[in-house]
Amino acid sequence: MVLASDIEVAQNIGFIIIALAMVFAAVGVIASRNVVHAALSLVIVMAGAAAQYVLLAAEFVAVTQVLVYIGAVMVLFLFGVMLTRAKLGKDVDLNNNNAIIAAPVALLLFGVLAFVLLKGFSDDKLPTDSKPQSTQTISDLIFKPYLLPFWALSFVLLAAVIGAIVLARKD
């Protein structure tokens, strides 16, 4: 007998709504003729991803996603759009002629991925009793076993900051 708590109706309905919103917004990102509309669709995809992280019991990553992606990266993108004087209305010259190659590549990739995933994880259920990941657990992991990648990451960020300044400044 299948109990309602076993299939988690509420979570599944939430997942489907968020996933549909994300897929439609992703279509907007890759197909929109308007640069600003594509950027705003990307906001929906990122917010949906943050909601999926909450469903996956990863609250800290969800909050970081909202702060870093929606807060910082999107502002950078909009600055990029404005500073490169992209046409703010419809732009017919956004795509190249590769769609005839790109569509089969993307479809084939999705077919292979979906086949492998459905074969490999056919009915694996996520544990229903998982607690939200506490920030303390994550920080313990970052600063104990994964300290070396954290250092490497800080050097990457430093190099990126210096590189961005060197590239973008006017002499």
Partner: protein, 99 residues
């Protein structure tokens, strides 16, 4: 919830990102498609994380977010530099390195 519903969503977003990278001409749009790809990878990491009941995936998802932020910063600086020198950011016109 099945783990597969998250993994398939990630795969779908990944393939859309690949399509965007291949078809877009505007450099800013290519960077946006790359963000789609990185987001789908993060969904996969967190789905496996919850499947295995560990927290390691959260750490790597945070690292991916940090790398993505650095990548966008440098990428947009390069796009601005290209725009300053050539007055457009069409990637099809950047063919000097072609042999």
């Amino acid at each position: 919830m099945l783990v597969n519903q998250f993994l398939i969503l990630g795969a779908l977003l990944f393939c859309m990102g690949v399509y965007g990278v291949l078809t877009r001409k505007n450099a800013v749009m290519v960077l946006m498609s790359i963000e789609l790809i990185l987001n789908s990878v993060n969904i996969n990491l967190l789905a496996f994380d919850r499947l295995n009941g560990s927290s390691d995936g959260n750490v790597f998802a945070l690292y991916v977010i940090a790398i993505a932020a650095a990548e966008v910063g440098v990428g947009l600086a390069m796009v601005l530099l290209i725009y300053r020198n050539r007055k457009n950011i069409s990637l099809d016109d950047l063919s000097e390195m072609k042999g």
